[in-house]
């Protein structure tokens, strides 16, 4: 049981890292990695939302499983539930942790409405069967996103340094860097290139 939990979490964080293996949320990563100041808060809020939404997604998928054409309106249902979670979270923070609310209100919308969160829900729906798997994958994917943002943020200044050639400085170099990391993560999952 414990072995399965660890294996599922490891897979979600490393082998199937949401950025390095699926590129989901890369645009958000580019925005967030600019500042290391709110990295922890942002990471925690993404993980919280993916974990909570993954549990709710399990019940949504159960409820919609009778309809073959449900994929047409499933995103709408996900967005409605995500919107409700987002408002409830903001209300709870405003009521019980006003300081945290003040710090996070600027970027909590990006942590809720992005491709990483919505993409996690679709991937989890494809790969998981039980409520436990949904939950662990949800946490793992959130943490995987945090890991990717952290690995990018720590070299951000160097990638945008004036020492880098002008053509590559910043965004192009950032993509090459993520590509190299991505290759390492694919290697970690046992993938080998066939030449």
């Amino acid at each position: 049981m414990l072995k399965n939990i660890i294996l599922t979490a490891f897979t979600a964080v490393f082998a199937e890292n949401i950025i390095f293996s699926g590129a989901l949320g890369t645009s958000t990563l580019i925005i967030v990695s600019r500042s290391r100041k709110n990295l922890l808060g942002f990471g925690l809020s993404v993980t919280y939302i993916t974990a909570l939404m993954s549990v709710l997604t399990y019940f949504i998928n159960q409820a919609l499983s009778f309809d073959e054409k449900s994929y047409i309106y499933t995103p709408l249902v996900y967005i409605i539930i995500l919107g409700a979670v987002y408002i409830l979270t903001l209300l709870c923070m405003w009521r019980f942790a006003p300081e945290m609310f003040g710090r996070m209100k600027k970027y909590i919308h990006i942590s809720a409405f992005n491709c990483a969160v919505l993409g996690s829900l679709f991937l989890i729906s494809e790969r998981c069967n039980t409520l436990g798997e949904y939950f662990i994958h949800g946490i793992g994917m959130g943490l995987g996103f945090v890991l990717a943002v952290y690995l990018t943020a720590i070299v951000y200044d160097r990638l945008y340094s004036e020492k880098a050639p002008y053509s590559f400085r910043g965004y192009p170099l950032l993509l090459v860097y993520i590509g190299i990391l991505s290759m390492a993560f694919w290697g970690l999952s046992g993938y080998t290139l066939k030449f």
Binding site: L24, I31, Y166, S167, P172, G179
Partner: protein, 207 residues
């Protein structure tokens, strides 16, 4: 007369920004996930740009009518809700026109609902302008995105398998690495650097 010239310059600037100076893929790094994963062949890229263009254009157009008096917390939910509603006829239309294409882009189709044009750029750029300018800006940003994705996917497919749209080009390249997301990241990085170099060269020549 001066007003007319100002307008012309402003429109030229909008067009140039969308297509070149602030190209969403090659300069701004917006909505790149589907490009990294799916744009490894021209056929899927065509489907990708069709899905992106439909969802982004109609979502932004309808969202621009959401009153600013509504608090931002609710507005952002409304934008994505509108995106999810626009997704329904978009997926039905494209399924009717290109059923295999919809299957090929898989989860990336609904992910356009939360793309950064809608979530992060709608309020900071598009909705600050007048309706006419906004429409022009959205259209040229979408064209800039689509053009970059199609060119990128064609080059990537040629490099990876020597084909374009599944047809053999006769080029002896088979760098399979470019079929994968890591190859996509690296190639897009090289594309962005090349694009910047070309822009710099053009500026120097013009001076």
């Amino acid at each position: 007369m001066s007003n007319c010239n100002d307008n012309n310059n402003s429109f030229k600037k909008i067009i140039k920004n969308g297509l070149i100076n602030k190209n969403p893929i090659l300069v701004s790094g917006m909505v790149i996930a589907p490009v990294i994963v799916l744009a490894n062949n021209f056929n899927d890229a065509v489907m990708l740009v069709a899905a992106f263009s439909l969802i982004t254009f109609f979502t932004l157009l309808i969202s621009s009518f959401v009153p600013k008096s509504i608090v931002y917390t609710i507005r952002i939910i409304l934008y994505t809700l509108i995106g999810a509603v626009v997704y329904v006829p978009s997926v039905m239309l494209l399924e009717y026109l290109m059923p295999e294409g919809v299957e090929a882009i898989g989860i990336f189709f609904p992910l356009f609902i939360t793309n950064s044009f809608i979530v992060t750029r709608s309020e900071s750029i598009f909705f600050l302008e007048t309706k006419g300018k906004m429409l022009l800006d959205i259209i040229f940003c979408i064209i800039g995105y689509d053009a970059a994705v199609l060119i990128f996917s064609a080059v990537r497919e040629i490099l990876a398998s020597g084909t374009i749209g599944g047809k053999i080009t006769g080029m002896p390249s088979s760098f399979r690495v470019f079929e994968h997301p890591f190859g996509g990241f690296i190639l897009l990085g090289l594309f962005a650097a090349l694009f910047r170099s070309i822009l710099l060269l053009i500026k120097r020549v013009q001076k």
